[in-house]
């Protein structure tokens, strides 16, 4: 019988079926972060249970680390205890930790693929809902809670009910200036915040094949915003070329053997998907959210919708969003004055994201009164960006240039906006109060965020007048 790639990866990793009917799925790579690690280590200690495979487990300090220069454990007082507790847990359990001062520290979803810790066809778990970011290299990743994290530490498996198969087919060629972020926001808008619930999504089609790995990661990152259990892109030559020679990938003859296997990782022709969605990407313009959930999206040339034009089920949420966002139906998004711009997070903080933003702002300056900040997704990304002079471009334009971490995505490290501010952000959630009490978040691509910082208003990067340099 024809199988989907998800079925193949699932079946290979199925260790046993538990008495309660759940499949035990082996987790090849497990990455922790400090917000959950402490609780899980404490639970195992109390139960006198050892970590089964410390050698397949990694830890990264990301959610609570400060981003200012010279940061340390104490810079963000509310993160300090978490950072130290994870450090101690990793020391006593012999888990490789990318600590706050490690040259390879960063956001777990950025660090794991860039070091080659995750691999095509491998399973991956992180106690974070954006785990499926690494689906961009063809890994099958599951976000989990704290109890499940402890379970994986003790057993190296997850006890799961098999999700269903879904395929999102992305046809056509993206217009210049349109990125995976815009595609993902449009998909979420089309199918809703729970549209992929209970499903693992395979992203396929010409538009995906043409995306570099970093964009595929952005696409898979936003999978949870439509409720998907996981999401991935089948690996191809672009993937293998991207992964080759990264420190944790197999080397030499082992690489060749792995590569032979990875080339077989595809859904069979005619494999059955429980749900299929197709989107023509050729006509897409940059997208931006206007409301307080990631389905509330319009093309950048669009207007805040009239509730009467919305699906009846979405009207109540829209009405509440108008108030929070201080917007009225019919208002154009372009030209809305903004106070803050954030470029970063596991969604859009890899080197090409920063390159795109830097290209937009080169030779220009952030508009007066706008606070703009770039936080690279990893310390490695930061180093590479600095080697290419991007930090200078950002600083000269008036951007703050931060140390790596999750930063203002959820504000867990104290980076946040002021009440009432309107913020264009490259992150993944525009929920009320997420980026600070009463902060009004508009999710968009790095290009849109950069252009808006320069204009002081929501702007379309494709329409900015040529820069002075």
């Amino acid at each position: 019988m024809q199988q989907t790639l998800f079925d193949k990866i699932w079946n290979f990793h199925r260790v046993a079926q538990r008495a309660d009917g759940r499949d035990l799925i082996y987790i090849d790579r497990h990455v922790l972060h400090e917000l959950h690690a402490h609780h899980a280590f404490a639970q195992l200690l109390k139960q006198s249970r050892p970590v089964r495979r410390a050698d397949l487990t990694f830890a990264v300090q990301d959610h609570t680390v400060a981003t200012g220069p010279g940061r340390d454990d104490e810079t963000n007082p509310s993160g300090s205890a978490f950072i130290k507790a994870m450090r101690e847990g990793c020391r006593s359990n012999r888990i490789r930790l990318f600590d706050i001062d490690d040259p390879e520290q960063g956001i777990s979803h950025v660090v794991a693929p860039e070091l080659g810790i995750v691999l095509p066809g491998a399973t991956h778990a992180v106690p974070d809902s954006h785990a499926s970011t690494v689906g961009g290299v063809g890994a099958l990743a599951f976000g989990c809670g704290t109890s499940e994290l402890a379970h994986i530490l003790a057993t190296q498996v997850m006890a799961l009910k098999q999700p269903k198969n879904m395929r999102v087919q992305l046809d056509g060629r993206l217009a210049a200036g349109v990125t995976a972020k815009d595609v993902a926001l449009r998909i979420i808008a089309e199918i809703g915040v729970a549209g992929a619930r209970g499903h693992v999504v395979e992203y396929a089609g010409a538009a995906v094949g043409a995306m570099p790995i970093e964009q595929r990661m952005t696409l898979c990152n936003l999978n949870i915003e439509m409720g998907g259990r996981s999401g991935f892109v089948a690996p191809d030559d672009v993937t293998f070329e991207w992964l080759a020679r990264r420190p944790f990938v197999p080397q030499g003859a082992e690489w060749d053997r792995a590569l032979r296997h990875w080339r077989t990782l595809a859904s069979d022709e005619g494999a059955c998907f429980d749900r299929e969605v197709t989107l023509d990407c050729a006509t897409l313009e940059p997208q931006i959210t206007w409301g307080t959930d990631p389905t509330q999206v319009v093309g950048i040339s669009g207007r805040v919708p009239d509730p009467a034009a919305l699906d009846p089920g979405r009207r109540a949420a829209a009405a509440s969003a108008f108030g929070y966002m201080d917007l009225t139906p019919g208002t154009p998004l372009l030209g809305l004055p903004i106070d803050r711009v954030f470029i970063g997070s596991c969604t859009n903080s890899r080197l090409p994201d920063l390159q795109v933003a830097a290209a937009v702002i080169r030779g220009r300056h952030v508009a007066e009164g706008v606070v703009a900040m770039v936080v690279p997704g990893s310390t490695s990304v930061k180093r590479e960006a600095e080697a290419a002079g991007l930090d200078r471009v950002f600083r000269e334009a008036g951007f703050l240039w931060g140390e790596s971490g999750c930063s203002m995505c959820a504000g867990g490290n104290g980076d946040r906006g002021e009440p009432g501010e309107r913020c264009v952000s490259t992150t993944n959630r525009n929920f009320e109060n997420r980026q600070g009490p009463k902060v009004r978040t508009h999710l968009a691509s790095p290009a849109t965020a950069a252009a808006s910082a320069i204009a002081g208003r929501i702007a379309d990067a494709r329409q900015l007048a040529p820069g002075s340099a």
Partner: protein
């Protein structure tokens, strides 16, 4: 895990769709390892701008302060995977969430902690919500997981569905890790098979360190 068989409590209606974990358990400015999960629950929604309690928020109303059942809409618990969004319910004495649907990770986190997630089926679900609104906290409902029924004032019992395995796990308060460790031999033999079939999966080695320190290459390395 605290077993769940039956719970009798006031049912508080919070009839909205897509309530996310940022709303349920917001990340707050000042935190430590021993967090106050009781205070965390709906921290922002419970308060007005000046920090005082908002008397209009359902859980602040005197008759719902001791609610044990939360009744809500579609896609409850969307967003972040933070388990504090479950712990904060339990810290407030809420043992049942009856929703039209749940986000996947949130539902898993409920099962891990003995918080019963009841999915309200279409017609009966709407009837139950109407009854909860009408009763308005004046009398309790009983949710019985053994009989899979909700009983309470102003109407007949309502049956609900839950996968048999999830039901057993909650009723017996089973230790999830313990359940899995019954299969420890199968986990070990899977590892042996994987080492033969796809050896790279069983070896997460930093090739730079391995090159530096050949004899330690199979030891997990660590930073102190």
């Amino acid at each position: 895990m605290q077993p769940f068989t039956r719970h009798t409590g006031i049912a508080a209606p919070l009839i909205k769709d897509d309530i996310n974990t940022d709303q349920i358990a917001p990340i707050l400015h000042s935190r430590g390892l021993k967090e106050d999960y009781r205070a965390m629950l709906f921290h922002r929604a419970r308060r007005r701008e000046d920090g005082s309690e908002d008397p209009d928020f359902v859980l602040n109303k005197p008759r719902f302060r001791a609610a044990g059942i939360l009744v809500t809409g579609e896609n409850f618990g969307a967003g972040s995977s933070r388990e504090s969004a479950v712990w904060s319910m339990l810290a407030n004495g809420i043992r049942v969430i009856a929703a039209k649907s749940f986000a996947d990770i949130y539902r898993e986190n409920c099962l891990q902690n003995g918080l019963l997630p009841v999915v309200l089926g279409s017609a009966l679900g709407d009837q139950f919500i109407a009854r909860v609104l009408a009763v308005d906290g004046k009398a309790p409902f009983t949710v019985d997981l053994v009989t899979q029924r909700i009983s309470g004032p102003t109407g007949p019992d309502i049956a609900f569905e839950i996968p048999a395995a999830d039901r057993t796990r909650l009723i017996e308060g089973l230790d999830d890790i313990g359940l899995t460790l019954k299969h420890v031999d199968e986990i070990a033999s899977w590892e042996v098979r994987a080492r033969a079939a796809q050896p790279w999966l069983q070896l997460a080695r930093d090739s730079r360190r391995a090159a530096l320190n050949k004899e330690c290459e199979n030891e997990p390395t660590q930073k102190i």
